[in-house]
């Protein structure tokens, strides 16, 4: 049983009961967590690609083309598996529904892939119907590199490791394929309200 350090609070503020998932703490800042070096992809080199089950590009946008798509301004709560939650975060992004318009697929799963090699897997159904965006703006400004800019996936209903930073595309798959953290202990789905942090939770 760990000893308790009187007066130690860490970087957290008081949680309002019922507002955040079990086991989480509220934070005021926006912690930066990363599994590797910050990526700095120039916009001129950036594109976003949707690859279908056969590996063919079913959709591709350069940065200019991406910026021309209709975008949403959204306010969501985000929950990290390392236990911090941040309420009322402001993002601007293109809905994955918009990107998937016109994509014919029977795939049930998707893997998001990023610059630097990070991947995360989700059921396709969890990135549709207004549940996911490719976000390029945070708090009224362009998304900073250390928070995943130029663009990151944003899937607020799942733990935030699923909101892949530096995202460059989605691969549609018939069979599920665990991503970077799902392959080494993290829960395959990751619902914060059911505290699905690790394998077997």
């Amino acid at each position: 049983m760990a000893i308790v350090n009187r007066g130690f609070k860490g970087r957290r503020s008081q949680a309002g009961a019922g507002l955040i998932p079990p086991g989480q703490y509220l934070v005021d800042d926006f912690p930066v967590l990363t599994a590797g070096p910050t990526q700095f992809t120039p916009l001129a080199e950036w594109d976003f690609t949707i690859l279908d089950e056969s590996g063919a590009a079913a959709g591709r946008w350069t940065w200019e083309e991406f910026q021309a798509l209709p975008a949403d301004d959204i306010i969501v709560d985000i929950h990290c598996v390392t236990k911090w939650s941040k309420l009322g975060t402001h993002w601007r992004g293109v809905s994955v529904d918009t990107l998937m318009e016109g994509v014919e697929t029977s795939a049930e799963f998707v893997v998001a892939f990023s610059d630097g090699g990070y991947t995360t897997n989700l059921p396709l159904a969890d990135v549709l119907d207004g549940q996911a965006w490719v976000a390029f703006g945070y708090d009224g400004e362009a998304l900073e590199s250390e928070h995943g800019g130029p663009a990151r996936l944003l899937v607020p209903h799942l733990y935030f490791w699923k909101s892949a930073k530096w995202v460059r595309g989605l691969r549609l798959l018939n069979e599920d394929e665990p991503g970077f953290w799902e392959a080494v202990g993290y829960h395959n789905y990751g619902d914060p309200w059911r505290e699905q942090r690790y394998w077997g939770d």
Partner: protein, 235 residues
């Protein structure tokens, strides 16, 4: 490695933002110069945070001392540097690390290069050097921001073969070196590669990266250059 309960027996300010904490740890197995401990803090609601701190005290005694530099928006260092009282307890595990150590068991020259709080494990090595009356020639190059940030200033003033350089000091009181650790400084204040010195580099990652590259470019064998990164702001 088990978590041990350490009791604070003394806290001594080193600078305006750094404190040396002396700890009593029952069953402390002893340590080697350059090793570190992991410290874990637990809040009343169970939240935990963990950080590594180099051991400042030399091997051989029961003394376990950590020097903690307070980082303004840090999570652990403000608590350790400001809120600990004598008699408080903290959890730690260690000693950790057999790579970044100097045991003083040979006479090869030693070049210690530290940036900011990276000087802490190097001072453990210097203190060990003195305690065993080692014949190994040892030199320290220490980069700090301002004169007020220099750790162990009085102690280092009494040791020759210490070169301190300040990178952000604007005052006229400092009559020592200014500027970053560079090729020229390491050539004059260090050892030539032909001496085959053991080199230890510790501090923030950008400091370690830059100095290690300079040493290798100067001709030091990469296997003689040992590095320890302390995080983006030096711990």
């Amino acid at each position: 490695m088990k978590w041990l309960v350490a009791t604070v027996t003394e806290t001594t300010p080193e600078t305006a933002s750094a404190v040396t904490i002396r700890l009593d740890v029952p069953d402390w197995p002893g340590h080697r110069a350059g090793q570190h401990v992991d410290v874990r803090l637990t809040a009343e609601d169970g939240y935990q945070a963990q950080r590594s701190y180099s051991i400042a005290s030399p091997p051989g005694s029961d003394r376990l001392e950590l020097t903690v530099v307070r980082i303004d928006d840090g999570e652990v260092s403000p608590y350790l540097a400001s809120d600990l009282d004598v008699g408080d307890q903290i959890e730690l595990r260690g000693p950790i690390g057999g790579y970044f150590v100097w045991d003083g068991d040979d006479d090869r020259p030693v070049l210690l290069t530290g940036g900011g709080s990276g000087v802490v494990p190097l001072v453990s090595m210097m203190r060990h050097h003195e305690a065993v009356d080692s014949k190994a020639p040892m030199r320290l190059v220490y980069s700090a921001r301002t004169a007020g940030d220099v750790l162990y200033r009085d102690e280092l003033a009494n040791v020759h073969d210490v070169t301190i350089t300040l990178t952000r000091d604007q005052s006229s009181e400092w009559d020592g070196r200014r500027g970053r650790v560079d090729n020229e400084l390491l050539a004059t204040a260090g050892w030539p590669p032909s001496e085959g010195p053991r080199c230890y580099v510790c501090g923030p990652d950008t400091f370690v990266e830059a100095v290690a590259n300079i040493l290798v470019d100067m001709g030091h064998d990469q296997t003689n250059v040992k590095t320890e990164r302390f995080g983006p702001t030096g711990g």
